[in-house]
Symmetry: C2
Subunit: 357 residues, 2 copies
């Protein structure tokens, strides 16, 4: 594909903070941006040329988006597969493609794919019934984590099963729907790697981040993480195997369990820009948002070297009330999402604390 | 003034690239932005929540803007004074205020003000007739630069008068309108300083930039410029005197002639973010655009320390055709303005080349 020239229009499914920051990066490269989101006046829509206010499966809206935009992408992985098919049928260039979405939308398919490309995960069992769950527990041992196969994020739709006695309750708790049972990972810490693959097949991998979650939600990322060369190399190899295995175009987030001594397991992948990559906005010349736009527009990938150490902290819910205090700190850079209502746990902003490398 | 909380709306008069980059900075701080510009779908309007398409002196448009926005600013100094008055009468907070505009809109008033606060300029004469011009030439010596008192930028509306014989032609060339005659400055190089003053009266001054103009238009800025301590100190003192003399709120650009040995003359001031400050986007944690928004919103000013050396180059007209080549350079960061038509000399984009300090 010839690089998409500035002045072209990029469509983004999803108008939240990721879409907003993607839109801002696209504008900086001279693109126009149109958002598709059912919520009027979305955070991304407010900084874009236009927003189509419609459901993600609205066929007219998808047709308009496809005809308006020379490239289409998304900010979340639960875009209906049928919507992507419809865009593709209409001739739109959608990246990352349906294969990446299919894998990312189903936890059993995801782990099966990962193991297939040599990216190890915890042992797991596919669960379609209480019997499956009991058999899985028997094989994997307790405690094990029961998650719905589809949907769910930030710790939603999942429950720890600590014994066979709890199995029925757990099965009920997740709504008795197709699920996955995952063995407990005995990890030292959580890492993540943000990587990109361009239309020319070239790959660029950012330095690793070390993440701390609270209540299933990311709280902070520190990057570049302090890791030994073996771990760094292993993470890069895993990212490369995933990107190539999916024939992926764009930025991908890979959450990792660090077991120590260079041993890594993949927790999950996100076929999009990722919260653990927000540090790149203030640590790299080309951040993950610009990188994603470059990739889907067929531009050469940008540099991924860190020029600073960054501690990214999410501001959730009323954390945002600290904005004035944070704005006064000279080594902090604020990124607010323009959301009106600070509901508990809602991602409202993040702040990057910048220190020299 | 209590700092304006995120979620407030900021109005910007002018929808060009400066308005666009101001809007992007404001969005990052969680503000909504409305642009007033007569050109539909302006570069700034396309990345903002809304644009009012109307003339800058349209009283209805100004009323709507004033009522919608908790703070109003502008991207260019030739906003009609009557428009600012109208906004102020409607109760809008407009910064920088009418005093800064009045001074910046009239070259005689500007130099008179500057000399009054101890910021030296070239010698000058106010010219309202050919006789004034001849008398001025006699006093200042030839060559001298004849400029219209009002309007004109990037070398427009000005002509060198190399001898008394040329006076009549020069007077005709600028349209026989109120003018200023400026003595030739015998300068070594052109510098500029970008400075900000907050609502609390605090001042922040960025490191100096060294500028190269071609055909009256800025081509490159290198910053931080290599300057001795005396020059740096003098430039800071000048910036401070101007900001305080105007009771200024926001970012101000000051163009300087460096005469050597710490001697500086002010060439002109711009009561707004300035092309020679674009390097701050990739050289500082808080760039001039965020700084201006912080100031007018009553937030504390951000840090002005450089963490990298930047060479900013303007891409004028068809220079923009180099975008693909520039996008491939790992130490270059592109900033495109989203302008459709690459008219000769039109500012289309800039690129910051980043090197370690």
């Amino acid at each position: 594909m010839t690089p998409l020239p500035p002045g072209s229009t990029i469509g983004i499914l999803g108008g939240g903070q990721l879409g907003r920051m993607l839109s801002q990066a696209a504008s900086r490269l001279g693109f126009n941006v149109v958002i598709l989101d059912p919520e009027e006046n979305s955070p991304a829509g407010r900084v874009s040329q236009g927003q189509i206010v419609a459901a993600y499966d609205d066929s007219t809206a998808l047709m308009v988006l496809g005809r308006t935009c020379q490239a289409v992408t998304f900010e979340f992985e639960n875009v209906p597969a049928a919507s992507v098919e419809r865009l593709l049928q209409g001739g739109a260039a959608v990246s990352p493609g349906p294969r990446a979405l299919a894998v990312a939308q189903d936890r059993v398919e995801e782990k099966t794919f990962l193991n297939g490309v040599g990216a190890p995960t915890v042992a797991f069992a596919s669960v379609d019934s209480l019997d499956d769950l009991l058999a899985g527990l028997e094989r994997l041992g307790a405690p094990a984590l029961l998650k719905t196969r589809r949907e769910g994020y930030d710790g939603k739709g999942q429950v720890w099963v600590r014994s066979a006695k709890m199995a029925a309750d757990a099965w009920h708790a997740i709504g008795e729907q197709p699920a996955i049972l995952e063995a407990k990972a005995d990890f030292v810490r959580e890492l993540s790697v943000i990587a990109a693959r361009g239309r020319d097949g070239r790959i660029a991998v950012y330095p690793l981040g070390e993440n701390i979650h609270k209540g299933g939600v990311l709280k902070t990322t520190v990057a570049p993480a302090t890791v030994d060369a073996k771990t760094e190399k292993r993470a890069r190899a895993i990212a490369k195997a995933i990107l190539e295995g999916l024939d992926y175009i764009g930025v991908l987030g890979v959450e990792l369990f660090d077991l120590g001594e260079g041993r890594l397991l993949v927790n999950e992948i996100a076929p999009r820009v990722h919260n653990t990559g927000h540090w790149t906005q203030d640590g790299c010349v080309c951040d993950q948002f610009e990188q994603h736009i470059r990739a889907i527009a067929g531009w050469p990938l940008g540099p991924v070297t860190a020029h600073a150490r960054v501690q990214m902290t999410n501001l959730l819910g009323t954390d945002i009330d600290q904005w004035a205090k944070l704005a006064a700190k000279p080594d902090h850079r604020l990124h607010l999402y323009g959301k009106a209502e600070a509901r508990p746990g809602r991602k409202m902003a993040h702040v990057n604390r910048i220190t020299p490398l």
